[in-house]
């Protein structure tokens, strides 16, 4: 093989890897393109004190609610004990799981499809034995639920909400009368969410009047 071909491959490959490192270190265009996922090594980025699960539900026209993921044929657990739907952290894909189940099952006509998030503190994941070693009070696990999205039966988004953690974080910040009063002077400023192909509109800021 001519020597220049491997030289080009070596320099090209290392340049791509170094570009990924540069972008990752400086937060530069990290979400610019799906190819960036291939060169950015952000394993175990972020963390949460809460465990999260997703529920994909269909509301029939009769008012009966149905489980739409996993389908009645069984579930797939990709990386452990949790089912596939629970790895949809952004909530972007769950509706596709619901539509697939509806395509392959017998059911009454649906009125709407719902994506609900369930959350609980991770300390309750401790086994009963370890819990008893760590805490004096009894283990009293409670889940918190948060609606993430409402869809039409054919999969069109009609309503959307942030995750439970985002909502609670915002509530903690907004528990401040002066901050709330300042915010009420403005009107919500909406923008198209950049990370979505479905033109989701989300509030991003408050636009204030220029005259004081």
């Amino acid at each position: 093989m001519k020597r220049w071909i491997p030289q080009v491959v070596i320099v090209g490959y290392l340049s791509v890897l170094m570009y990924g490192l540069f972008c990752h270190a400086l937060y530069y265009k990290v979400n610019q393109h799906p190819a960036m996922y291939w060169i950015i090594w952000d394993m175990y980025c972020g963390w949460s004190a809460y465990e999260t699960r997703n529920h994909v539900i269909g509301e029939g026209e009769s008012g009966q609610y149905y489980q739409l993921a996993p389908g009645p044929w069984g579930s797939f657990k990709p990386h452990g004990d949790a089912e596939r739907r629970h790895y949809d952290y952004t909530g972007l894909h769950s509706v596709r799981l619901a539509l697939n189940t509806l395509r392959h099952t017998e059911h009454e006509p649906m009125a709407r499809l719902l994506i609900v998030e369930e959350t609980w503190p991770r300390k309750y994941n401790l086994s009963d034995e370890l819990w008893a070693r760590r805490y004096t009070e009894r283990k009293d696990k409670q889940s918190y639920y948060q609606m993430r999205g409402i869809y039409t039966p054919d999969g069109r988004l009609t309503h959307e909400w942030p995750s439970w953690l985002t909502r609670v974080s915002q509530e903690c910040v907004l528990d401040n009368p002066r901050l709330l009063a300042d915010m009420k002077k403005g009107r919500p400023f909406y923008a198209v969410e950049p990370g979505s192909s479905r033109s989701r509109v989300v509030p991003t800021a408050y636009e204030l009047p220029t005259a004081q």
């Binding site: 491997p6 393109h33 090594w41 790895y87 949809d88 192909s197």
Partner: protein
């Protein structure tokens, strides 16, 4: 005119500095010599062969788990969750019909097996290199992970290498068809650059992982690791829960890990530091199974470490293995079986290629047929399409009812009593004190929490409030510390430290004050 022998004029601290052109030329030559030695030395690719053998077996762990779900995960007849949706990009790859997806998945599976045994190695690697990331990209939720990405990189670099030149079916066929080169001296050598790229890939992945940790302040306080170890999203992690009891240990491990990750790419090429760097890596990856419940990722990296095996080491290890086998009396039987002379004409490469193609086609067709008969959605069974599972009204009410406020007991994570701190966390746990000792009472909160007024009060054995100390914990802080000095004013006996928030008792810890009852001084 510039005199011969003088090169660039540089300005250093305002003074002109002329660099002789000979120096530049010499440095360039030296760099090129080192570059060529590093990337273009020739060797028998034992290291790449070992990676080629191990990596597909590791990847098959994930691939075989998904075999029965191809229709659902990757085909138009299922619910693929493509990577590009999350990036807001237009479709990058075609989503195909179920039979084609099943056939391609079967080809991927057999290709990985062929790569492992080194049969039509390069062709199998090219096929796997295309199909493995393809299926990953189609299912960002249930298939694509960073180990998919790293596996794709490794398959690409293996395809560029001559990893099938040794310890492979290809090499075995070649030796049988060419009886003139039966000795190891006849093994094919190739440039080392694919192995170097793979080594650099491993080092740069660690460097990138270190950047991730640098972006996460909670990594250094141990909070991030504590809660990852309590997560239930991976396989069972037997040590995770216990390790979360020792945050200072996690903090120490966090610092060791990030220092090792940053230094790895610089140390692993040093003859002195190579083994320590790799040994720490082995321990680190094994621990990720016990603490985080990872399986494929650590196995992948442990397999990748074979890329750091030098040819001389591989040859020594091969001799050792042969001697061990001979000692156990297996070699004689194998030697007899393998050394049967065969007519060279029976191992033409075209036959091997035809057999490879036939196997792929058979696997694809058989897989499509089997999958069709399985009727994964149960649509063709006697009961027709399956009915949906209903959800009980109680659960529906719970899920769709008004949002519950965050309970105070869910805002705190731990309440501990000790005497020493390390890295901002209690490093010991005490339930017995003597007079003169100072107790540190630490309350750890979990985000998100509001700005809080937290009290850690001292009660006696009869639950009478003895002392009351409170502190504001802003929403960005996760810890509050309270100090209690057990001076002579405390009588020996049992006491409780009680954690209170918003007027509610959240938890309590019992401690015992030991010692003699202080002598009372009579007043005049």
């Amino acid at each position: 005119m510039r005199p011969v022998g003088f090169g660039c004029d540089l300005w250093v601290w305002g003074e002109p500095l002329t660099v002789p052109i000979e120096l530049i030329v010499a440095m360039t030559r030296r760099f090129m010599t080192r570059w060529n030695t590093f990337f273009f030395s020739e060797e028998v690719p034992y290291g790449m062969a070992l990676v080629r053998f191990v990596l597909p077996l590791v990847l098959l762990f994930g691939v075989l788990r998904r075999w029965g779900f191809v229709r659902e995960l990757y085909s138009l007849d299922g619910s693929p969750t493509p990577l590009w949706v999350g990036y807001g990009a237009s479709p990058l790859l075609p989503e195909v019909a179920a039979p084609l997806a099943v056939a391609l998945f079967a080809v991927l599976t057999v290709s990985l097996m062929a790569v492992s045994v080194g049969w039509r190695t390069r062709l199998s690697l090219i096929v796997a290199c295309v199909l493995y990331p393809y299926f990953g990209i189609l299912d960002a939720v249930g298939t694509l992970t960073k180990y998919t990405v790293i596996g794709s990189h490794v398959l690409l670099l293996l395809a560029l290498s001559d990893s099938g030149a040794v310890w492979s079916a290809d090499e075995w066929f070649r030796r049988r068809s060419d009886a003139r080169n039966p000795s190891p001296a006849g093994l094919r050598k190739s440039p080392v650059w694919p192995r170097r790229l793979l080594q650099l890939l491993v080092g740069l992945i660690y460097l990138g992982a270190a950047f991730t940790k640098m972006h996460t302040p909670a990594y250094f306080s141990g909070d991030q690791l504590t809660f990852w170890m309590l997560a239930d999203m991976n396989f069972e992690n037997p040590l995770g829960g216990i390790m979360s009891f020792y945050p200072p240990l996690l903090t120490i491990m966090a610092y060791v890990t990030i220092i090792w990750e940053v230094l790895f790419v610089f140390l692993v090429f040093s003859p002195v530091w190579r083994l320590p760097a790799l040994a720490i890596g082995v321990v680190f990856h094994i621990l990720t199974y016990f603490t985080l419940g990872l399986i494929v990722f650590p196995l992948l990296f442990l397999g990748l470490y074979f890329v750091f095996v030098e040819p001389s080491e591989a040859e020594r290890a091969a001799v050792l293995v042969k001697r061990t086998i001979a000692r156990w009396g297996i070699a004689g039987q194998r030697q007899t079986r393998w050394s049967l002379p065969a007519p060279s004409a029976s191992f033409r490469p075209a036959y091997s290629l035809a057999a490879w193609g036939l196997l792929m086609a058979t696997a694809a067709v058989a897989s499509v047929e089997i999958e069709h008969r399985r009727d994964v959605y149960g649509e063709h069974s006697a009961n027709g399409p399956l009915p949906l599972k209903t959800i009980g009204p109680k659960l529906v009410k719970e899920m769709l009812g008004p949002s519950r406020p965050l309970r105070p007991q869910d805002m705190y994570f731990a309440f501990d009593v000790g005497t020493k701190t390390l890295g901002g966390q209690l490093s010991d746990s005490c339930d017995t004190f003597t007079h003169g000792e100072r107790a540190i009472v630490q309350c750890s909160l979990q985000p998100p929490h509001p700005d809080m007024w937290v009290e850690a009060n001292l009660h006696d054995a009869d639950d009478h409030l003895i002392k009351r100390i409170g502190s504001v914990v802003p929403r960005e802080d996760l810890r509050a510390e309270f100090y209690y000095l057990f001076d002579e004013s405390f009588l020996p006996g049992e006491y409780d430290f009680v954690l209170r928030f918003d007027g509610v008792e959240l938890t309590r810890r019992r401690v015992t004050l030991e010692g003699q009852t202080p002598a009372l001084t009579a007043s005049r």
